[in-house]
Chain length 492, copies 2
């Protein structure tokens, strides 16, 4: 079927074309399905979007991705047909049926995903197959390797590069800025990249962004690390293991935890970032790992896969039964972090102690003796705070740390929640607290969130349990409804 | 996050909004993910498309579906946030984990799909779960019921309504127009709706469309059936079991055969069309059912599910080891059908005999005695051909049957393929022949396809095996490459 091409000035991020109603009906294709486009001797594949107002009945609108592959002139005819099944799709189908994939198949699949050649539905099928059928140890190693290969890399030569990662699921728990500051002050090199919130109230990148630029290029990162030993940046724009980002977006659709993908995702990003001493924080007791034995089984897998890449991984199993720290939401968490770094008497002890534990363990992995007491000393002497300022200023290319901190502001509307009865707080649900924060507007609204006045402890009727923050009164109302329905804090 | 709304004049077919790069980055959402939109007291969900050229940085473009739900004025601010997980998505997640769904959950899921509220990725997760985890008998019954409920219905009162369906997988095999003509001539009422090609070279609707209008409204169908006892229309635009169409598009991404979905799909469409005597043709030996025992197991399931709906189903197990008929492709298949109906001596015997068998069996299900010999008589006397003309003319609201038939034309370019050696033809691969037809341009190009000069029989070196037809020389070249690589016809 011939259609007149129209080169839209549209960088779609994937090879998309726009069809009108008539053409899509004739081809019997729907949004997100694939067609073949033939022009001169070339034949390429594109994903369909349908948008009648943009193109005429006999036209096809081409994204920049497509027109640059075809090298056509706008207005020339192209020939459109239905697409036979993609090789990438055939590999997904094989995994769906429970067969083992070869190294070559995994490599091809990952590169197709990285190049945006698989549709959302195809990636969802792969994730479902990973989740239900599982991957073998060998397949996970090959997946990790393929994910590293398809992306950019940071290279610090033969140096020891420290990293930490938490598998998530715990509200608050903003240890990273503190751990990085302590370790960097202790002389470790730690180019830390973090994610934004996926299902939580805030990611480390969202929190750091309240006072610093987190979108650095690879060259800028090298510069900052050279100056300060460390950085605290957003990993999303660096192009490390790019297939992973796409898979994560699809996992997120159902908030799935897919273990083989989790292992490959975390390790591939760390390896691509040049890390070779990696501490993996695996909280247990609620959230993703209900029991210690499940947490340990995951930890063992991390170790055994990392071996293939000449990287030392140590899993650490931590208290995951309630949120860590008091503030939950980007600005609230930053305030907790600053309070710990500044050694304020009122700082959240749980966040402080966990950060010291993690920093000490990581320092010890990197050959430092008496590491835990050194970590404490670095934090309590103010050296870690000094290092944190250095890193933030280096990322901002300025010296206005104090000014930025002074501008941190909580949301306009707030509401205090009091204990309805006396008793023992037996549950502060991590995922419920996270969901409530999202109702309040986090992470888009960084000033929103929840401040916990209590942890798992005894309370008297009428004592303050938490304060809710939002920039929008209706969202505050919704959060109150949420509390009634889901009871995020339970007193017995 | 506040954005200025812009009501686009865009009937997207699902609740979609357009964001620019900045807004999508801030919200950390990607194409096909869901956001929550708040306007006055309303809060609704929309799927994201990203198209920077269409909207400004602080704007959000709304499809008609969204603006009619919000009742906003273009230019007013709306509040955008990330969406908590949909109830529909939670149900999909439950099935992914292998749990059984309740009647209410299945009902809700189906209505969400029918209303376009699930994204492609979410539907893919559901299909994957159906495929790998399976559905119980009870779940399939409930799925069928929910699919009937969400769509339109044809109602012919208490009459006997005959129908036939082939589960597919066999190239050619265009029995439907012949069976319908025989049965209608025998006095049965048979309002037949068919699909277009999904993975094959042609569907019945594509074939009929070479000489007739197949897109009739429900009222027009009733009119044609009243006049002629039957019709031969495209089912896709009738709105019977609409969720099914969406699920089929997603299955098609990987050409999956998902048995529970197949059962529910076929039965729900037939029940919604008012049919109560249904013959299910299940070819075995290649294609979808490799063995007779697999075919019989499927046939039994059809029967046991149909019982719940007071509908009589008879499975018939037919020869599925090679294509049926000689022509494969819409026009080529129509020529075969006409040749059988006109009792030409050169007509494909296999197509004729299979059509008589199916028509006879269906007539017998509807209470006609000596049905098979009656069916043969109706066909060979020319009564079936007369009936076919009537139906086609009624659908076209004209009397130009002969003129339309005389205009049937095969594609401009053709290429004959000869046997490279003498021997016995041991394989004519159904799916390979279908794929090759798609390479040649079917079903979009209805004049393209393959004519088989031989079936599974002895040949001499140099005898004609098949003729390829295409409107495009390059596609003909591609088909020759396909033959070399995949050897659709194998001689031993």
């Amino acid at each position: 079927m011939k259609l007149k091409s129209r080169n839209l000035n549209w960088l779609a991020g994937r090879p998309v074309v726009i069809l009108g109603n008539e053409a899509s009906k004739k081809l019997n294709v729907h949004v997100d399905e694939r067609i073949a486009i033939r022009y001169k001797k070339k034949k390429i594949y594109a994903v369909v979007d349908i948008f009648p107002d943009l193109v005429g009945q006999n036209e096809i609108g081409l994204s920049n991705e497509i027109s640059s592959m075809l090298q056509n002139k706008s207005g020339e005819d192209v020939d459109i047909g239905t697409a036979e099944m993609f090789l990438g799709a055939r590999i997904v189908r094989k995994k769906m049926s429970g067969e083992k994939l070869s190294k070559e198949e995994i490599g091809l699949l990952v590169s197709e995903i990285a190049n945006n050649n698989l549709t959302e539905a195809e990636i969802a099928y792969f994730v479902a197959a990973e989740k239900i059928r599982g991957l073998s140890h060998q397949e996970i190693v090959q997946l990790t390797e393929a994910m590293v290969k398809t992306g950019k890399k940071l290279d610090f030569g033969n140096e020891i590069i420290a990293d930490k990662h938490c598998i998530g699921g715990i509200a608050g728990n903003r240890t990273t800025p503190i751990v990085v500051s302590i370790c960097a002050a202790a002389g470790l090199k730690m180019p830390k990249s973090s994610s934004r919130a996926i299902t939580s109230a805030a990611g480390t990148a969202d929190t750091i962004e309240t006072i610093a630029n987190v979108e650095l290029s690879l060259d800028e990162i090298k510069e900052v690390v050279k100056k300060t030993n460390a950085c605290l940046v957003w990993g999303g724009s660096l192009g490390l293991a790019p297939s992973d980002d796409k898979i994560i977006h699809i996992e997120r659709v159902l908030n799935l935890d897919v273990e083989p993908q989790l292992l490959a995702s975390i390790l591939s990003k760390k390896i691509a970032a040049g890390s070779n001493r990696i501490l993996i924080d695996i909280p247990f007791g609620s959230g993703k790992m209900k029991t210690l034995s499940k947490a340990k089984s995951l930890g063992k897998k991390f170790k055994s896969i990392a071996k293939h890449f000449n990287v030392k991984v140590k899993p650490i199993y931590t208290h995951g039964i309630e949120p860590i720290g008091n503030g939950i939401g980007p600005v609230l968490e930053m305030k907790d972090v600053l309070s710990v770094l500044k050694n304020e008497a009122t700082c959240p002890r749980d966040l402080k102690e966990k950060s010291i534990l993690l920093a000490g363990t990581l320092m010890s992995m990197c050959g430092i003796f008496f590491a835990k007491s050194k970590a404490r000393k670095i934090l309590e002497s103010g050296d870690a705070y000094k290092k944190f300022k250095e890193i933030i200023n280096a990322q901002n290319k300025s010296n206005d740390f104090d000014k930025r901190v002074s501008k941190l502001k909580l949301a306009k509307y707030k509401k205090e929640i009091y204990a309805a009865k006396s008793g023992k707080i037996v549950e502060i649900g991590n995922s419920k607290i996270n969901s409530m924060c999202r109702v309040l507007g986090t992470p888009e609204t960084n000033s929103a969130g929840v401040y916990l006045h209590k942890h798992l402890e005894n309370v008297l009727r009428g004592e303050k349990l938490m304060t809710l923050y939002s920039e929008n009164e209706e969202k505050l109302e919704d959060a109150l409804k949420f509390i009634k329905e889901f009871e995020p804090i339970r007193i017995n």
